[in-house]
Symmetry: C2
């Protein structure tokens, strides 16, 4: 039995999130069904992250322990051919140590949040970005984002109903930059709480529109009070962008 690590990408608008559910189309559910069709096995698909409904992935890893003898170089195309929806692409596959776990061995993740900064939203960014019609001070938002860097209890940036033991996370880097009509927020951390990136974006937009000040962010973090931070930005703009194992972004 081999333990195989797959690199995929998916368009989140087509799915009710990563995690398998009854009566809903999910990325994990579609992958499991494709494996069943291809190999006859009922495999356990271990994903690197539980992304929400509507959230996208430019890069996502999962591992699966399988008796299938399909060569790793043929597996991506074989899996896609097993009626996997076109909104999921399988980029590569490689064999890893039998105890490798795509979720627990993940050391760092990078998310990107895309804001389409136009008065006239493009139909081609529908469900792929948040539309924001007002002026954006990119420099100010970038300055505000730098306050997220460090190791903090991010309770103020976590959905109120989330149940985790510790809400301490380390953010390695955070920045806001313009890319044509798009404003992008990119953030790397050792882990992210439920809705954390989306609340960060809501808070940065509060800084932009003057509802809070740039230098209010440290005291908002310190308060551990969800009500002090900004709103939760819509899922449409959120992309899991890179996943790091052993310190490096790997080619599966």
């Amino acid at each position: 039995m081999r333990n195989l690590l797959f690199k995929i990408a998916f368009q989140g608008a087509a799915f009710h999130g990563w995690q398998q559910q009854e009566n809903a189309i999910t990325v994990q559910g579609e992958l499991k069904a494709a494996f069943k069709r291809l190999t006859g096995e009922n495999v356990n698909i271990i994903g690197c992250s539980r992304t929400d409904a509507g959230v996208h992935a430019n890069e996502y890893f999962f591992n699966v322990r399988t008796e299938a003898t399909i060569p790793v170089e043929s597996f991506p195309v074989a899996l896609m051919s097993a009626k996997l929806p076109g909104e999921i692409s399988v980029y590569s596959c490689k064999e890893v140590d039998f105890d490798f776990n795509a979720r627990f061995d993940c050391e760092k993740k990078e998310y990107e949040y895309v804001i389409e900064n136009t008065k006239t939203p493009s139909p081609f960014y529908y469900k792929r970005a948040m539309n924001y019609k007002y002026d954006v001070d990119v420099e100010l938002m970038n300055k505000a984002a730098k306050h997220f860097i460090g190791t903090f209890d991010f309770s103020a940036f976590c959905a109120a109903d989330a149940q985790v033991k510790s809400k301490v996370r380390t953010i390695y880097d955070a920045s806001v930059f313009r890319d044509g009509d798009l404003i992008k927020f990119r953030v790397q951390g050792n882990g992210f709480l439920y809705n954390m990136v989306r609340i960060m974006v809501g808070t940065l937009l509060y800084v932009n529109n003057g509802k809070i000040k740039c230098d209010d962010i440290p005291s908002i973090i310190e308060s551990k009070d969800r009500t002090k931070a900004g709103i939760t930005a819509i899922p449409d703009g959120l992309y899991l962008n890179k996943v790091f194992y052993g310190g490096e972004s790997i080619e599966a």
Copy 2:
């Protein structure tokens, strides 16, 4: 009563083409319904082109004669707010001469066909490009495309069942170029026959894979025989890119 010209864009994957049909979601049908909700009128939506199911528009114009008194600068947002699907964006609106007709007054159109040239298709180009896994000789395809420029009877590049009086069209420009992983075919003409751009793409790919020679294209045109040209490329990659009135691409 004013005659208003609207500039829109739409993502074709969401629609069964432009033209209104019973029991199918179409761009024209959705616009007509949004007008009815907004103004109470049953307007006649005159589009610049009858795009097929799955075909996109980066730029598309329609005109409508209306009693509505909504100012032109407010009309785009008002129309989008009238439950127009997010896959249609209304960019602008302006008043034009009462006898202006978006279809008959159109002098030139530009189409773009997008080929995603990768072995591993991105889920973000699903239904927005044709995937082509093999090597592409862009220079050769561009050279072949130049043979389309001129005034010819394009019967060989028209769906066999199309019923039009004349199949003579003038192509002003045609080129193939690379844009990262994408290969784009851009073509401007005074009009296009049914499936014409898609058959041109199929023929250029025949040149690329050696099935026909670059310099066979003039004799294929001359043959007026549909069976001599390449296959009809899928609609997913086709975009109406620019529409010209009075010689110029206009800002509605």
